[in-house]
């Protein structure tokens, strides 16, 4: 359902000094947020952590899983917990017959008659700050093209003129990952692809208890997960803070300048990162584009900052398990990355 309430306006031009003063507080708010939200699901903490990491890094996240594994519920509660207004959120279930107008707004017929190809984007994806697209791979290429531009360039073309979009965080879900080559570009844009799996085999009782509790909340129109721990602005601030950090040069004791990698990515962990990537490419033919490697760096740093506030550790390298492009790869990496890291 598309929502039409007017979006709230906020500034995003915080200075480094402003953010530095607030950084620790931000970190602890975001950690409270992710851990609190985890209480309302059974065995979804890893996925929620990943959502927070992706949201802070402003990287789109694809959630893959069969129906009924809480994919939509995760995003909805995430949105609620951030206290987002309706105008800031857009969600839609795509089908192959979905037309671009349903996602980016209908063509303004009046203006079309004047020869201008303008869409009325109010209440659609370009004006939301958090977006959720369900069954994303079922869409047609007209929509895929629009999405690629929005994800890549944060832009949206109106009559050939690029317009900035407000979208900052994009989650998508899918039951299946099709193999058509035409979808490769979009798949590559989703650096992280996480599986939402059924938990009934191992957590049957917990699942029933939590499910019934969820029904109660729904029936009584209660949303206890709205606890106000963090807001979307906190995530944007964290992103900006880390962006500042990526660009900074640090001076070590011997007055040598160190960049972000030298400062926050210990050599032995960096070696391990390289070794893992080479092994996955060589042994399992996992495709990792150059673009993805850079994005991964960013994601490692975000995770390390969020979880420990410090340097990247071997544990952060677990994000490599979310690089699979197909069900087989996802399944393989789920086991293989921890095995290589020695944590299986």
């Amino acid at each position: 359902m598309a929502k039409t309430e007017a979006p709230t306006l906020s500034r995003e031009d915080w200075s480094y000094e402003e953010l530095q003063a607030e950084a620790e507080e931000l970190r602890s708010r975001l950690n409270r947020f992710r851990l609190s939200l985890g209480r309302f699901f059974v065995q979804k903490q890893d996925l929620i952590d990943l959502m927070v990491v992706a949201a802070v890094a402003q990287e789109p996240l694809l959630i893959v899983g069969p129906p009924g594994t809480a994919k939509s519920d995760l995003v909805l509660k995430f949105k609620d917990a951030l206290g987002l207004g309706e105008g800031d959120y857009f969600e839609y279930m795509l089908t192959r017959f979905t037309e671009p107008s349903e996602i980016v707004g209908p063509i303004d017929i009046g203006k079309l008659r004047e020869g201008r190809y303008i869409r009325r984007e109010q209440g659609k994806l370009p004006t939301a700050r958090l977006g959720f697209l369900d069954e994303i791979f079922k869409s047609n290429s007209a929509i895929l093209n629009i999405l690629l531009t929005i994800i890549n360039e944060r832009k949206f073309y109106q009559d050939g003129v690029p317009m900035p979009v407000r979208l900052r965080v994009l989650f998508a879900a899918t039951n299946e990952i099709p193999e058509q080559a035409e979808l490769a570009a979009l798949k590559d844009r989703f650096c992280l692809k996480a599986e939402s799996r059924s938990v009934q085999d191992n957590y049957f009782t917990n699942l029933i208890d939590a499910g019934i509790q969820g029904e109660v909340y729904k029936g009584l129109a209660q949303k206890p997960w709205i606890e106000g721990h963090a807001t979307l602005d906190d995530m944007l601030k964290a992103n900006r803070y880390l962006t500042y950090q990526f660009g900074r040069r640090h001076r070590s004791g011997r007055s040598e300048e160190q960049n972000d990698r030298q400062m926050y990515f210990p050599a032995e962990v960096f070696d391990e990162f390289q070794r893992l990537v080479k092994t996955l490419i060589r042994e399992d033919h996992i495709f990792i584009s150059d673009r993805k490697l850079v994005k991964l760096y960013k994601l490692f740093r975000v995770r390390a900052w969020l979880f420990t506030g410090g340097t990247v550790s071997r544990d952060d390298l677990r994000l490599l398990a979310y690089l699979g492009e197909s069900h087989q790869e996802i399944e393989l990496l789920r086991d293989k990355v921890p095995m290589l890291l020695g944590e299986a």
């Binding site: 047609n140 007209a142 093209n145 035409e182 032995e268 070696d271 070794r275 042994e283």
Partner: protein, 1154 residues
Amino acid sequence: MILKFPDLKSLRLALISGAVPATMSKAPAIAGVDDQHQCWVETNATLTRSNQTELKRLLVSFPRSMSGVSRQEYGCWAEILPLEKEPWHADTLTQTPVLFDLSDGAELASLVIETLRLGNDRQSYRWLETLPWKGGASALLPESKQGVDAPPRALLRVVGPPYYTLLRAIDRIGGAKAPVAYIEKSPRVWVELGYTHPLIQEIKAPPGKLLLLRPSCPWTMLAEAPFRDVYETTEFLLPDGVVKFNDSKNQTPRIKVTLSLRAGGPPEGDEFWVLRDDPLEHLNHFVQNNTDEVLQRLSFAVGERSGKKIIVVRVRPSKQPAPVVILHGAIGYKPYLKLPNLFLPVGTKLYPPLRRDQVRKLLAEDTSQVVWLHPDGKGSFVPQTLPEDSFRPLFDWVYYVLDHDKEPLQHWVQAAQFVFEPFASEEEAVAKPKRPPGSSEKASRGRTRINNSEGPDARYQVIEETIPTLEPTQTIEEMPVVLKVEPSLAQKQLKELEEAFLALEGGLDSAQRQELWPRLAALNTSLKNVDDAGISWMNVLWERDEATARAWAWSWFAVEAQAVQERTTAQPWTKRALESKNRELPGDDLDRLLNLSEPATSDIRTLAAYLVHACLQEVPSASLVERLGPISRFLETNEKLLPIRGMWLAWSHLAILSRGDVLAVARARDRVLERLYHTGMRPEQDLPSFLRFAGQPTSQRFRAVRQWLIGLSDLAQDWVTTTGTQGQTKAYVDLIFAFGLARLGESDEARKRLAHATIALNENDDAAHKALLSAFDYRIRLALDGKPHIGPLPADQLNVLENMERLSRYVVDRLRKHSRIIEPDTVINPYRHWGARINEFERELVELADETDRNLIVNRVENLLRDIPRGAKGAEQRMRVLKAGLENAPRVNEEFARRLLDNTIPTYDALPEIKEVAVLVDQASFLEKALFTAGHFGRTESLHPLVTRFKKMLESQRGTQAINALESLASQCLRGLRRLGMREEIDQILRMMETLILEGQDVRSVDWKKRDNGPAALRALLQVASGYYFFGKDAQADQILGVARAVLFAADLPQREQTQLAVAYARAAGQAQVEAAQKRLEEIFKSLKNVRDTYTTSTHFSVSQLDVVEAVVLAVVSDDFTVGTQARRWLDDDEFLVRRRIHRDVRAALEREV
């Protein structure tokens, strides 16, 4: 003494050539390289004068001192030569021992643990205590207690280490502590991975020593000593325990357990229904409210118990999922534990749960009885049974009748022409409905009649009901005769044009033919031959530039629009557009079209034409653009009504209207390819009538063939009697003809022969006969239902075979191996159950062949490929997996096909040399599958390497073995290629084969009886003849058939050769012009002698005779025979053109998007 070499290459040459004597080169030396790359060597040894002379020839000088050179001590002269880099691949190390040298022994544990964790336990290690290296000559490092201050050092030997672990050494992870990996390059000489020594083959380690070579490091020598296995110390001995229990001495009494039904399993998936109360009323209600598709999937039986009738309905065996059936008043059952003859109420299970074999023994041992457990409502149940053969197809007992008589109208004759409703060669569709055997002559109106008086068991009473009136549809012959009138000028022109079209040389895409299409389209339009005009316009628009297409697209729309019908209350939706000046369809007319629940073919064809027209306009109609979504949905639902060309034109233009929706184009492409794969181009839908009926009119041909086949069946029976009947051969001949007649739509005749055979084969209660009868029965019924003749036998029949006694099983498998009717896709090896147990890999392959789920096919193939060893070792296995995958690839998707094709050439190239015919045939079939898949998905980059390899394979075959293989090769390669437009390639292959077989002689001058392997060569030549027929080279083909005929009917070949030649002759004859083919095939049964056999199976049937009969029948029912080779050739050509355009469009769309 000092020697100065111009460079290191000279030093190497001097060492190899012996200019530096071995006594000198083995001794330690001091050496260095100066800025001019000159190599200086100082040695204590002296050179003879002759050595010095020789060295001088290599430009070596002998200065008195070494100056300006940094010097280093070496253990021997070979050590002075530096190591060279060498490429390496992890794949080649899967079975190779690698030695990890750990300068810090503390790292050993982590390396061992990591390697174990990654699944490799082929590890052993040594501890070394080293002496600090002091420089100079190589030091021997004993495994000793010396050098206690030095850090411990360790060697770990791993066979095929994981790549992840190797990276530690390659990327020097851990800096100075990183291990160094060595490979053994020559006995006991280990060189660092990625390097080699220029004299590696010449370097010999001293006895009892190992040598480690690293770049820029002195050589290290170690004493040889055993490595200790990592498991050597891990043995857990447990203390002895006390046994607390003894065996009971008392005999355990047998325990009685009452079986009951308990709730369990999903309450759905029923495939078997029992109607008890008022069963006939319920069944009548059911058949009157369900589609014929559902009814065709069901069979039924009527039974009686205590004077009360019950009706049992069940799903007929099929590979498709069971239909959803809602049968009021019935209890639904489903099979239990996959036993084909045992059914439990849905949502229940047997309690306590028993093993499958126990359940079968208790409840369903007799497979001729169908058993269902009738619940008594209190948990208990009563097993009830009906004989398996009391079930009859439900659809055969249902008549569809009209409420009102037909109202014949006066036909209207237009001045000069007749507009016929187009009809295809589907006479069976308009033939009189056939009455089931035993039905009464009297009939009443509008009811369903169910009659099972044919049931073989008298216990099952007949249910008599009022019988419906039969009002058969008129056949073509009964339609009013059309008056003969003189053809108009336009008709004459059209006829001339068509003749000119047919007379032209070259393919359908030749320029002259392309020029004729617009004129054909215009003439057909003016004559209002809507169908032919439409197809002609589609051909016109197929390969045109945009401006030309724009000028003609409206003409296509206009002619298609003529056929759009008025509906009850409204004028045709095309009327206003046809009358308007702007040539646009108003929005409400489009909506009317889109709201049609059952649009006619004319509606969809007109829509396709309109989409093409609209897309080619500079400003597309706004009403159309606004409705693109609903139009896509509508088109996708109804696209099957369009000819393939129309379908593609519609989708490709629709995609342009949707601003380049590449995904929609790709999806449409997938659907078109799937349609081509399953049904190919269909003459009645895709060809204009003059091409469709090229040669003899199809309908005449079809009818004549059916009648002729009935007569041929009697001839075949006589032939079997004359030649000598063995076992139940005649019953099997009936079955083979029943299948052929069923394929041609002669259902009455087919059923009659099936019934005869059933009685004959059930006489002796022989398990093999019964199983084979079931198999034929299944195939015949598929043919009667018009379903494709593909896939394995149903699971229940295969289950029966699995449990069959071995000799009977052999008899069944023997015929399965020979009969392409029973096993259309797979050649069964009847000996496999006598040999070794099938291994896991073979089992997986067999299961893959039966898999129908696309995702599971992909998973299975990828898993199998992953488990195969890399490199040449696994090439044969990889080929088999790839072949199985390629077979399924057209049904899966392009991505899957691409991955397999990418693997095909490397795998083929890695295959070992061909030494046996079977291997050759296997490899040829592998290439053929790859060729077909590459062509199917338009992957031209794969086609030519594959064809080249195919030709090479052919060229490499010589002598007797080659002749044996050629027959199989020819049949493998021709089938797929011709639909992909590879005419030239096939022609080349045919000519190559002919040359190979004839060895340059004229076919008539060869003495085939005297020639070595003559009959086999002749058979291969007959395959070539089939190819010639396809290309219209009938004279060449006839010549070959003439020669084969003479040899065949002379009947002095050994029995086995005689049979095989007869089979090949029949197959080739089936490709000839129909009259000639009929004569040749009849002659087989009139004059062929000496076809008998003495195989183990001759107690049941004569395989040889059945081979011949089946070859004849299959030749007759092939598409080539019934449609006509000429029309089939047009279709094949046309399919190639369609494929070419589709692939080109999709590629262009993708490139545009990029």
